[in-house]
Symmetry: C2
Subunit: 434 residues, 2 copies
């Protein structure tokens, strides 16, 4: 049986999908019993020389030709952005076609509308490639853990920042130097702001939490901090304490509440997530029956992303060929979980204070922490030459578990002390075991 595809958006990822369909056509056919036929490709640029060759007759500048072509069963949306892409996905579903997309921004902004439309039209909207590229995390959450309940999720879902952090940790480069290197190697865009400010990871976390918890996330309550202000000092202090700083996307649920945050986070250097380096992505899950599990792979790039797109295509094709009826429950957000503030969440914290050296300072600081119910687990203050009394010296504190709100209140008080010269750095610590 032949299943016909229309591809909208023929950029780098599109080229990867075309290459994969071409190179592995035989494997796909033998594994699924279905032949995936790329019928038409729409792109605003039909002239550019590409890394794959396709019959020019298949190209069109007008994606509507694909949406209205009755021969096409599945539309692959690889336009990117949230305007044209939205029209493509809406239009395809309305025309009764299944859709596969790699577009995380589109899902972040419009998934409620698009899932509702898919359900109404009894068509599937698949998006494995939208989060963590080639890591099959959507499939793991929706199928492998179908009978389990996810309690927490820890993701390294942005390869650019993971590359930068790896350079900072291993080579002791500054953020700026590591970013320049990432750009030179093609791991960072010319404008890397959405990566380094945590925005991209936030988009992905929203999608992952929606799928993992079967609940609608209040996106306004996701706390986001990037690595653009992360100092090498903190990366090195963390290392000294036996921790690694990663840009983690964290989601936890308990008692009908979810907490979502993105930001630089300390994790033990011995844990498996800490060993995920350079441009690799990873998602660690904690669920009731399975316990800890971890999935690691490349999160971006034409070829890894293409494997996820083609996995969705293959599953859809088998369903169509097997005449499987539409299952409207696939991504139903049936849980009414409130999204709570990160300030109400408890964890351990890393604090770095910048003060001048004066008698009684440590007593003052620890008194403030004590008043806020915060216990200290470790402390580092390095010796400095006694002839520079007004030099700002760092005091690093690892706390026991505490509410983040209490930590921030205490830090605000410390920041007001006359001896304090720098705003206190606050980073959460996650004591992962796997």
């Amino acid at each position: 049986m032949r299943i016909r595809l229309g591809l909208v958006g023929f950029g780098v990822i599109g080229e990867g999908v075309v290459a994969l369909l071409e190179h592995h056509a035989e494997i796909l056919r033998l594994r699924s019993g279905v032949e995936l036929v790329l019928e038409r490709i729409a792109d605003i640029d039909t002239e550019r020389i590409r890394r794959v060759t396709v019959d020019r007759a298949k190209l069109t500048r007008d994606y509507r030709e694909i949406l209205t072509d009755p021969a096409i069963d599945i539309v692959v949306e690889l336009v990117g952005g949230i305007t044209v892409a939205r029209d493509v996905v809406r239009g395809a579903l309305e025309q009764g076609k299944h859709v596969v997309t790699a577009n995380k921004a589109l899902l972040y902004h419009h998934k409620d509308e698009l899932f509702a439309l898919a359900t109404a039209r009894q068509r599937e909207l698949r998006f494995e490639a939208s989060v963590a590229g080639g890591i099959p995390i959507v499939k793991v959450l929706t199928e492998s853990l179908a009978g389990d309940r996810v309690r927490a999720m820890y993701g390294i879902v942005n390869g650019t920042t993971n590359f930068i952090l790896t350079r900072m940790i291993e080579e002791h480069w500054s953020f700026a130097d590591a970013l320049a290197r990432a750009q030179a190697l093609g791991f960072a865009e010319a404008d890397p702001s959405l990566d380094v400010n945590g925005g991209d990871a936030t988009h992905k976390l929203d999608i992952l939490a929606t799928v993992a918890f079967n609940a609608r996330v209040d996106r306004e309550r996701i706390f986001t901090l990037g690595i653009d202000d992360l100092s090498l000092t903190d990366v090195l202090f963390a290392k000294e304490l036996g921790y690694v700083v990663k840009l983690l996307a964290v989601a936890k649920q308990a008692d009908h509440h979810m907490m979502l945050r993105v930001g630089p986070t300390l994790i033990p250097e011995r844990c498996s997530l800490a060993s995920v380096k350079n441009e690799f992505n990873a998602v660690m899950l904690q669920s009731d029956f399975l316990g800890d599990s971890l999935h690691v792979g490349r999160g971006a790039g034409a070829r890894p992303t293409a494997t996820a797109v083609v996995s969705d295509l293959s599953e859809l094709a088998i369903s169509i060929a097997g005449k499987r009826e539409f299952n409207p429950h696939r991504y139903a957000p049936f849980n009414e979980f409130a999204t709570s503030s990160h300030l109400d969440a408890e964890s351990r914290f890393y604090l770095r204070l910048g003060t001048i050296e004066r008698p009684g300072i440590l007593a003052e600081i620890t008194t403030i922490l004590g008043h806020h119910g915060i216990s200290i687990s470790a402390i580092i203050q390095k010796e400095t030459p006694s002839d520079t009394p007004d030099q700002t010296i760092p005091i690093v504190i690892l706390t026991r578990r505490a509410r983040e709100g209490a930590i921030r209140d205490a830090a605000a008080k410390i920041d007001q002390l006359a001896v304090t010269r720098q705003q206190t750095v606050i980073l959460p610590v996650e004591d992962l075991e796997l």
Copy 2:
């Protein structure tokens, strides 16, 4: 819609499945739209007090009652072993029921027959739980990588031996002490031979390679070495060289040939697989488009295994409810790959020689290696007191890439030298990057 299950084998895993179906019935129903109803349970012991309570009327000592019950859609085989289990799976398929099994030994010995029967009867035989417990590796290989081609696979697929090795590496315990500890903690059976001699890992590797390469494995040609003869000395030398010793199940394919081996293997301590400790399992894949990917989780235990069984059940139930036609291609071994000997495979190797100290020995040894085309990448010979000339001293050599046959030939020559006091230890080295 209700899908009715019959469970055959009510041991520890069976209890886990019953507990999961009970605790998460609502989640399963909301996610799939299907209600999984446990209709009957067969076990030779219907009297034993169990960790879960079930209606006694559901219990029977005769599994045939389940096979012949027309109300039952899916049979879950958790008997273990390869005699009764085979009858159960055959009988269920012949009666037109789908089957879910967690039985690796059964698949190792009878999968050709059972897959053929399933195909003939147009019923599915699912076995996610049979390999690496809660890690969804069968799903990843068959669905997520549907369009990709796996080149190599590196698995930590036996939790008992991984626990023992972790204790040897981290606490410097001997194999015997670590085994006793594993038994005390319930991570090793009273008779651990099938775990420590590599047999269990070989069963799983055979299943994984069959699925990954879509090819029939010649099981006689899988090279298997356990950790029962592994010396702490080698674990510690490996550590000194920056490597960790893991019991790896390795499968590689190229040019229509597969090579499969199980044995203690050195991997870089920096790689993610090296960070997989204690009773955890992991499978690392190298595929054409995705590149390196890794999946980590618990490989045994009632609750992790139950998640895999219920994942299979849920997928089957959705298929039945959606009236999907049978797809006969799912596990078709369409590739005619020959299984080649490990002796023809190339890799780097760790060698430990035991000789007495005499002038010219190192020259003799390196001449033998040179004659076999083997280059040396690193060497360790520790200083020993000069007053013990006849003491056996270890010489550790890391080679460059070489054919294993050449390595073994060279080692046999070295073992015949007059100064050699111990058989040379030979362990492969896999330079994993992820």
